[in-house]
Structures are given as C-alpha cells and as structure tokens.
C-alpha cells in the first residue's frame, strides 16, 4: 500500500480511480433490491456480497450515495447503553468498527477518544451508576467518575459551583470513539460494487408491487425492476416506503440538528455530552467543534435548520466551554430521523415474506452501521433471525416487549 501511494504521489497527474458502479440502465430482475444507499444499505450489500456470495443486487438511492443521515451525523460511536439487548448489540458494532479500515481496505479514520457524559443532578448519578454496572457486566468499559477525575480528563471544562447546573459526576466510557461517516459508506459501497453489486443513484422508489404475501417488483422513476427479495434502509423515510408495501411502522420522523465551528488548534480529546443541558461537543481531527443536541420539538420531513436550536445549543455549549464564546459557526444542518417509541431499532422480518426492515435508527444509527449490515445480511441470506437482533423485531410492539433504551436519549447519542 505505501508503495502504491508513493507512486501515485509522484505520478503528478493524480488520476482518479472509479470506486463505484458506472451509471447504466437498471436490469429487469435482481435477486435483491436494497432501498436506500446510506451506510446501512451499503453495509447490507457489502456483507451479502463478501460473506454470502449474493451479488445480483441493486442498491438504489433517490439522492446520492450516503447523502442522507449518513452524511449528517456527528459520528459518535459508543456502547454504553442501558438495556442488555442494546449493550450487546452496540458492543459488537464498536468491535467491528475497530477493524473496519482493514476489513474495507479503506481508511475510516477511527479514533478512540473516549466519551464523558456529565451528571448535574442526583438522579443522573443514580442512573449512571446503573448504566456503569450493566456495562461492566456485559464487558463494556464504563465507570462512574468524580469531579477531580473529570478535571483530569477534560481540563477545559468549566467546573464551578457558580454554574447554573454544576457538574456533579460523570460516566466515563473508554470505548467511546468516532470515525469519518462518509468514509464508512464509501468503503462499504466500494467493497460491494467491486463484487458485482450495482449502485444506482438518483433512483427513487415510488411504489412496491406485491402478489399474495410477497413483494414481486419495485417501481422507480427509472422503471420497474422485479426482485426476489427487498429490504428497506431509508431512515427518515421509513414510514413512507413501508407504506408502499402496505406496512405500518411505529415510527415518527423528527429533524435532528447539529452545527460546527471553524477549525481551532487541537485542545479537546474526548467526546463530552450533557443530557441535562441537551448538548454534546467534540473536536474533530480537523479542529472544528461539532455541537449537537436533542431532537426538534415536533415531527417534520424537512432538513431546515432553526435559529431556536442554534441559540439553545450555543447557550448550553458556553455553559460547559466558555472559551468558545468568540468561536465562529461555519455550518448548521439537520437530518430527518426515524424515531421509535422505545429508542430501539426495528430490524428484521416484516409482515411480508420476502421483505425486510432496517429502520428506527433515529439519532443513534451511525454507530450501528457495521453490526446492522452484518446481521441483516445473515438474515437475508439464511432466512433466520440472528439472536443479536431478535429483540428488535416489529412484533415486539404486539407482544408488549418494548426495549426501553433509556441510554439513548436524543441528547447523548
């Protein structure tokens, strides 16, 4: 690799290499159609092609590859959840991330920076202690830390009794990390395309044809394609696409916003989150401070940004890091997130025999990209639900078995 890189660097012309499928007409039939080419759709295609030899696959997106929430998230990767089902699932994903650059032969810029969540109340300390114990029991590194340890971990943080909500303790998650979100979807898509999967961008699914209890074809703005199976991985558009297949989902689409400052010299290493102030902050390796928080107050299929959110995120950030007062904001944006009532995904079988769901990723789905790709691929290839995702089936709502993931409030990701 380094030699190839050296030769490329010296070539002077820097020739571009094609990474994905050239645009060509859709075939009449595919064994599998994947609706949505975000990180999740691309990962499903990759694991199917590489490990299950299923390659007659079309990966369709109404926009461009990874232009949805995959392009818009703040790239927090962690596994310090609260339910057993959640911790086990995200723990596997964090492990897959650790080796993802090698797996894909594509640098996803994984950085193990750790995550610090702040408690400003007694009840938060109680819930952190609970989370830490559940995490340790399941092999995830989490511990309750005192104010002195917080000072050592993040000396830049304002720790003062004068603060409106003084910091009382923290949950330190050494496994917390971040990676380049775009690289993740590009790496998966390149790996899938090189094994025969066809990526079709600007291809919007507009209808789903069924016969009996089966999907037979998918209608798009570029014509109809027949398929042996189909899976939807469309995040904010989950309800809209499921409706085409006659399926109702317990999902609401809410905007989630984030913003970023100009780059500054490196001074903040871990990711810092305060559920109480509805804000989280980290500094990217380029130097920008990324700031995110809670969801918008009401559902919307729109990615507009609001001044209300900018004000509240800025105010909360300055409570924690007053030195950012003069920082200039570069951008603010939103994504449409597919929120579930129990903050857990909806994965696996649907009421139709050959139609699969990869939905309900809300504000937490970037970290799940590798494990959801791997488990969904297993399920599509074998027809069996892997144990790891069985708790997340759509049936749970009918069986009163919701997975109440209180470790996933929108403010902590």
């Amino acid at each position: 690799m380094p030699l190839t890189l050296l030769r490329y660097g010296l070539s002077g012309k820097y020739p571009a290499r094609r990474q994905f499928t050239e645009t060509k007409p859709l075939k009449r039939h595919y064994d599998l159609v994947i609706i949505g080419a975000g990180g999740h759709g691309a990962a499903i295609a990759y694991y199917l092609a590489k490990y299950h030899n299923i390659t007659n696959v079309a990966l369709l997106d109404k926009g461009y590859l990874g232009g949805g929430n995959t392009a818009r998230n703040t790239a927090v990767i962690r596994s310090n959840y609260l339910t057993e089902a959640g911790v086990k699932f995200y723990r596997e994903s964090v492990q897959l991330y650790q080796n993802l650059s090698n797996e894909l032969d594509y640098n996803v810029m994984m950085e193990n920076r750790g995550q610090l969540t702040l408690a400003h109340s007694d009840s938060a300390i109680r819930s952190f202690r609970w989370r830490a114990e559940v995490n340790k029991h399941l092999g995830v590194r989490s511990e309750l830390v005192d104010v002195q340890t917080i000072k050592d971990l993040v000396p830049q943080l304002r720790i003062s009794d004068e603060a409106r909500f003084p910091i009382m303790a923290g949950l330190w998650h050494a496994d917390g990390a971040t990676a380049r979100h775009d690289a993740v979807v590009w790496g998966y898509a390149r790996g899938a395309c090189s094994r025969g999967v066809e990526l079709h961008q600007l291809t919007e699914v507009t209808g789903i044809k069924t016969s009996g209890n089966k999907v037979t074809a998918v209608e798009t703005n570029r014509g109809t394609v027949e398929c042996g199976m189909a899976v939807q991985a469309v995040a904010g558009a989950s309800s809209v696409v499921a409706d085409m297949a006659g399926i109702r989902l317990p999902i609401h689409s809410f905007p989630l916003q984030a913003m970023v400052t100009q780059p500054y010299k490196p001074l903040l290493t871990p990711h810092v989150s305060s559920p109480h102030l509805h804000v989280y902050v980290h500094q990217t390796s380029r130097g920008e401070f990324v700031i995110g928080g809670g969801s918008d107050p009401y559902p919307l299929y729109n990615t507009r940004a609001t001044l209300d959110m900018q004000e509240s995120l800025a105010a909360a950030t300055l409570e924690l890091f007053p030195f950012l007062a003069q920082a200039k904001l570069m951008r603010q944006w939103a994504g449409t997130t597919d929120m579930t009532p129990d903050y857990s995904p909806i994965m696996g079988k649907s009421p139709l025999d050959n139609y699969y769901l990869d939905a309900g990723w809300g504000t937490w789905g970037f970290k799940a990209t590798p494990i959801s790709g791997q488990t969904m691929a297993q399920m599509i290839a074998t027809g069996n639900t892997p144990d790891l995702i069985a708790p997340f089936s759509l049936d749970r709502f009918y069986n009163h078995r919701l997975v109440n993931e209180a470790g996933a409030t929108a403010a902590s990701h």
């Binding site: 309800s239 989902l249 317990p250 689409s253 559902p299 009532p341 709502f397």
Partner: protein, 90 residues
C-alpha cells in the same frame, strides 16, 4: 420566530406549544381488540404531507387541533376540539 395561532390565546411563539401526536379517532372500547389498541397507541401514519394533530398551549394547558404540512412546516389552520363534532375528519 415561528408563530402558531392558538384558538384560545391567539398568535403565540411556537415554543409555547407542545406537540401531542397525530389525531386519530379513538377505537370503540366495546368492539376493539388488543391489537387495535396497540395500533392506536403506537402505529401512527407519520404522513409526509398534510396532517391533523393534537397541540397544547403549555402555559394555559389548552388542547386543540392543528392542520400542518409536515413537508413545508406550514400551519394551515388551528381549531378547537369542539369543531371536530361539526365536521367529520378522517
């Protein structure tokens, strides 16, 4: 600042209001099954387009209905609950 017209309090900042979910007629308890209730509670349509929703003016605890376009974020009209009895809504 986005404004919403409250049928009781008039034009107010949208931050004074709380969203209360899609409007659906409640199933008849005499005739419905457990699954009907589960669907009533969890399985909303989550429409991309014009919807009828519950909203509450938080300061006065006043519940009313609003018709909103969930793509453009335009509030088309707001109405007191009593209006529902006059015109059947789907």
């Amino acid at each position: 600042m986005k404004l919403m017209h409250c049928p009781l309090n008039g034009q107010r900042n949208i931050s004074e209001f709380t969203y209360g979910g899609e409007y659906h007629p409640m199933p008849n308890p005499e005739e419905s099954t457990v699954d009907t209730w589960i669907e009533y509670i969890y399985f909303d349509k989550n429409t991309a387009g014009i919807v009828l929703e519950w909203w509450c003016h938080t300061a006065t605890s006043y519940w009313f209905l609003a018709e909103r376009n969930t793509i453009t974020d335009e509030i088309l009209r707001t109405l007191p609950v009593s209006e529902l009895k006059k015109e059947p809504v789907s």
